[in-house]
């Protein structure tokens, strides 16, 4: 990690609300995040936690009903919330690459793959150059795929085309929103490996938005756990997954199938995620938290450094201490 140089992405005190017509819903409630060069950062959280809003805000790709109420977003030295159209277009075209959840909706169904990829590359690339790009994304028979329409490709192939388009201009930052959620389990791992290899080759940074903890544990360097529009825990993947310091991270790990022993019961998180309408003046997780005390319901926790990571919790000491034997307790 290159902590000395300026971060590639610098988000501070970000507040974003959606205007639903009848009321304001606060999706991002004071989030702060830095992404450094040449790293893979994963943002995890349940639906509604704000991870997609945060990811899309980096390219100002939010729907019109979203409003940025405060904070700043700098991406590659461009102030995204303040940039004019020209600067924004240059940023999106040259420095950002997006991989969306569903490749079949990301591709234009009326256009052959070759032409779409050429558009993403810019200029008038030779067919060989397009084929070469497709084979970098590990697509066999690029010549055949060039002439194909999106509906003629399988989901995994289509996602590889989207990845090829995302890396076409050698971006500095790749943002992948649930890149494998719509794919088959058996090819997810391969597609993630391709994405990771391309990232490593180009030295770009990759931000993965996902709720798949197991996938993240294998592919990310750092992980940011989101809840209620804030980043509640941020640190190296190994550290956070081995010994979570935030009760939400801990509960997510206990709820995921795959870590349990035979006969053991999964423990879902009680309650439902909050829908905020304004700044949360308490801990947003307090109503569902097993570690809460009175202070959690009256005092908004602020980010603090703890045990080698950043955590937004009054009770982090108790959480990490309790975590020495999470499995015994599960019985």
């Amino acid at each position: 990690m290159t902590a000395m140089t300026a971060p590639l992405v610098d988000i501070a005190d970000l507040v974003i609300e959606y205007d639903t017509g009848t009321r304001q819903v606060r999706a991002i409630d004071g989030a702060a995040l830095q992404v450094f060069e040449d790293e893979t950062l994963a943002i995890v959280g349940e639906s509604g936690s704000g991870k997609t809003t945060l990811g899309m805000a980096a390219g100002r790709l939010l729907p019109p009903e979203a409003r940025v109420l405060g904070g700043r977003i700098h991406v590659a030295d461009v102030d995204v919330s303040d940039a004019d159209d020209d600067a924004l277009r240059r940023l999106r075209h040259d420095k950002l690459g997006f991989v969306f959840q569903n490749p079949t909706t990301a591709l234009d169904p009326t256009m052959r793959i070759g032409r779409q990829v050429a558009l993403a590359m810019g200029g008038r690339p030779a067919p060989e150059a397009i084929a070469e790009l497709l084979s970098r994304a590990e697509l066999n028979e690029p010549q055949r795929i060039l002439r194909a329409f999106p509906h003629e490709l399988s989901g995994g192939m289509a996602q590889r085309v989207v990845i090829a388009m995302a890396i076409a201009r050698s971006p500095q930052l790749l943002i992948a929103d649930e890149p494998t959620a719509s794919l088959d389990a058996s090819i997810r791992e391969k597609v993630m490996a391709t994405l990771g290899r391309l990232r490593a080759e180009s030295g770009a940074s990759l931000v993965i938005l996902s709720h798949d903890l197991r996938m993240i544990a294998r592919h990310a360097d750092r992980v940011a756990v989101m809840y209620g529009g804030r980043i509640v825990e941020l640190g190296a993947v190994g550290q956070v997954m081995q010994a979570p310091a935030h009760p939400y991270t801990r509960a997510l790990l206990a709820a995921a199938a795959g870590n349990e022993r035979p006969g053991e019961r999964l423990r879902p998180i009680p309650g439902t995620p909050p829908i905020l309408e304004s700044r949360c003046e308490a801990c947003a997780y307090a109503p569902r938290c097993a570690f809460r005390e009175t202070r959690c319901e009256t005092e908004r926790p602020e980010p603090r450094a703890f045990a080698g990571r950043e955590v937004v919790c009054h009770r982090a000491e108790a959480v990490i201490a309790a975590d020495q034997s999470p499995r015994q307790e599960a019985r």
Partner: protein, 249 residues
């Protein structure tokens, strides 16, 4: 001993079409599988391996080209005879529920078809909603007013309302968030203990499957390559393909 709810013996399904030069394509090849009462059999494999085809055969929606199928020890017969005895829960509850029907009405519908009186239906709907962990007031809501996990509970309530003997869960938890997934998996286990239905749990997620299943069958290219107790999938399964699936957990 009670005969298994579903017993398939040497079932082959051939799709006839022009896309392979007019020849047939075997979606299932010599598959034998049985599901007992109160037992969940997990079915894992990649797409195109024949999982969904097998599910359709078990539901009687597809006739095997060769081989035999028995339901509770008897020949399957026609679907009308099996009304209320078979059920399915799909991946996307929003596709399974009519968006313009109140949830109570959706849950009640299978009872209308089996000719249950209106008063009995209402009592039964309230009871089943409570069993899937929803307040009876949900009966008056539209599917669009529910979260994904709540909608899947409604879909499960609808599948269970006739007390079926056999349920197919086709990727039933794949679209849900981690913690909601855990809730629904626990719900399936609890309901099975209470109702004793046999179940086929189709999924590409081996971690969720082994959690909810008693036995797991692994499919590859239309054949079952391994069929063993779920406990084996926490350690070292025999077939190399099963091991490859497990490596991704």
């Amino acid at each position: 001993m009670e005969p298994p709810v579903i017993a398939l013996e040497d079932v082959t399904v051939t799709y006839r079409s022009g896309f392979l030069g007019g020849t047939g394509f075997d979606a299932l090849r010599g598959v034998s599988l049985s599901v007992g009462a109160g037992e969940t059999v997990g079915l894992v494999g990649e797409s195109g391996s024949g999982k969904t085809t097998l599910g359709r055969v078990c539901l009687g929606l597809l006739r095997p080209t060769t081989g035999s199928m028995h339901f509770a020890g008897q020949p399957f017969g026609n679907l009308r005879q099996r009304r209320g005895q078979l059920s399915v829960v799909l991946q996307h509850p929003e596709w399974a529920l009519n968006p313009r029907l109140r949830c109570g009405r959706s849950v009640e519908e299978p009872l209308v078809l089996t000719g249950v009186s209106a008063a009995a239906r209402r009592a039964r709907v309230d009871e089943i909603l409570e069993q899937v962990g929803l307040d009876p007031s949900f009966a008056a809501r539209l599917p669009g007013q529910l979260s994904g996990g709540q909608r899947q509970r409604i879909a499960i309530a609808r599948a269970l309302v006739t007390h079926p003997r056999f349920i197919v869960f086709d990727e039933a938890v794949s679209a849900l968030d981690v913690s909601v997934q855990a809730q629904v998996l626990n719900l399936i286990r609890d309901l099975q203990e209470r109702h004793g239905f046999g179940a086929l749990f189709i999924s590409h997620d081996i971690a969720a499957t082994r959690y909810v299943s008693h036995r797991i069958a692994v499919m590859l290219n239309g054949e079952i390559v391994e069929d063993g107790p779920a406990g084996r999938f926490y350690g070292a399964p025999e077939h190399p393909y099963s091991r490859a699936l497990l490596a991704a957990v």
